[in-house]
Amino acid sequence: MRQFLRTALCLAALAGTAFFPGASAASDLELTITAPAGAGGGWDSAARSLQEAMMATGEAKSVQVVNVPGAGGTVGLAQFVGSAKGAADQLLVAGITLVGASISNNSPVDLTQVTPLARLTGDPLVVVVPRDSPIKSIDDLLATIKKDVATTIWVGGSAGGADHILAALITKSAGADPSKINYVAYSGGGEALAAMLGGQATAGVSGYGEWEGQIKSGDLRALAISYPEPIEGVEAKPLKAQGLDIELVNWRGIFAPPGVEGADLDALKAAVDNTVKSQQWKDIVKARGWTDYYAPSDEFKGFIASETERVRAILTSIGLAQ
């Protein structure tokens, strides 16, 4: 028994050290990344992947991840804005869900109040119908919506999330009133998948990766992806290529606190940019099945502003924001 315990501890310790390789410390940055979600979720794995890459490339001497879950990330964001102001060693991971949550929760803080460093990844959403559905193309779907918006039952992730927003955008471009959309929210792509396969819904929206298996096996028919360009290995064509001017990506980015300026900000930008361009980061993105959606700080800043306006407009039109 004791022998077993010792072996277990040794192995665990070995695995632990393997995870923190003694990288050549080219940088003396000691960073803390806040993931405004619980351990195991999307933002948490983004934060932990960035941690791994920054330490492996030596862009930071040490990186720690802190989880502050709650209210779609707004709890973590509020804490970050409040307590990390001006601190050049604090970072935050966030994404489009946080933009929506800040608006629909009437949160006093939003992402325009923090300093964007870089947009990192952007996972495409996919629009699907069941295998036996008479709907064969995105145009068929638009026609169905136009005919009767109420009986066109959508399923997808939580109310006001990216899935819901995309469904509303498509409804709108079909010429129907987006506030009349019949969107049945599930806790995530998994539960919504069961509703799709069970034939209870007309169409569904989720992250492409979540439904990839069913799409490849033919249980679901993918009509379109929301990414602006075609993606290698993905058969479904972008909405933009099919005549709908809709682009919506489940993006994630990294931010510095408000009030970080000058040399401090430049150092952080450089560290993040170098990490994102490294082979290590590319390997992680590939292993996790993410899609690269990199944009540097300035471009990302403009993107946040336009994204916030766009999400606010669509949430207002579906009655989730005033």
Binding site: A13, Q64, V65, N67, A150, N182, G319, L320
Partner: protein, 157 residues
């Protein structure tokens, strides 16, 4: 209705009834302020109204029980011990709140809980608590890389 005096032992039932009525009132107030409307089917406040009604019925049930049924008996309690555990929990919450760290919080929680159960060796228990908290902290932060709240003490490691 015939005036019946309330036995002291029946007071808990009346108190529970009052608590139920006030919770029902708060729930009603909250439900009446909900603005989000479901486009099809039922609104989010349907369940709230239902539970509100359920609570009110249970409140009436408790009022009846207070006058009729057997009293709910409770033994004497050692309020001092309860007080010590309250101190213990406040110690933990306080040290997280003030940023004094997880280890100190656990040590206070452990030592004052032990005090509640009649131990007098507070210093020894504090030391045990600190060691225990620190082991847990190191296990989580170093091995599992999950950051527990840090205070000045934890930053030494």
């Amino acid at each position: 209705m015939i005036e019946r005096s309330l036995k002291p032992a029946n007071r808990p039932a009346v108190v529970v009834a009052m608590v139920l009525f006030s919770v029902a009132a708060v729930t009603y107030w909250d439900a009446s302020r909900m603005t989000a409307r479901a486009t099809y089917g039922m609104d989010a406040n349907a369940a709230a109204y239902f539970i509100c009604l359920f609570l009110a019925v249970l409140g009436i049930g408790h009022l009846f029980a207070a006058f009729q049924a057997l009293p709910i008996e409770a033994e004497d309690a050692d309020w001092k011990a309860i007080g010590w555990i309250a101190v213990a929990l406040s110690g933990l919450i306080g040290s997280i709140w003030l940023g004094a760290g997880f280890t100190l919080g656990s040590a206070l929680l452990f030592a004052f809980t032990a005090r509640a159960f009649g131990r007098k060796a507070l210093i020894v228990d504090l030391v045990i608590g600190i060691v225990m908290g620190l082991v847990v902290f190191l296990l989580f932060n170093k091995l599992l890389s999950l950051a527990l709240p840090q205070g000045p003490f934890e930053r030494l490691f």
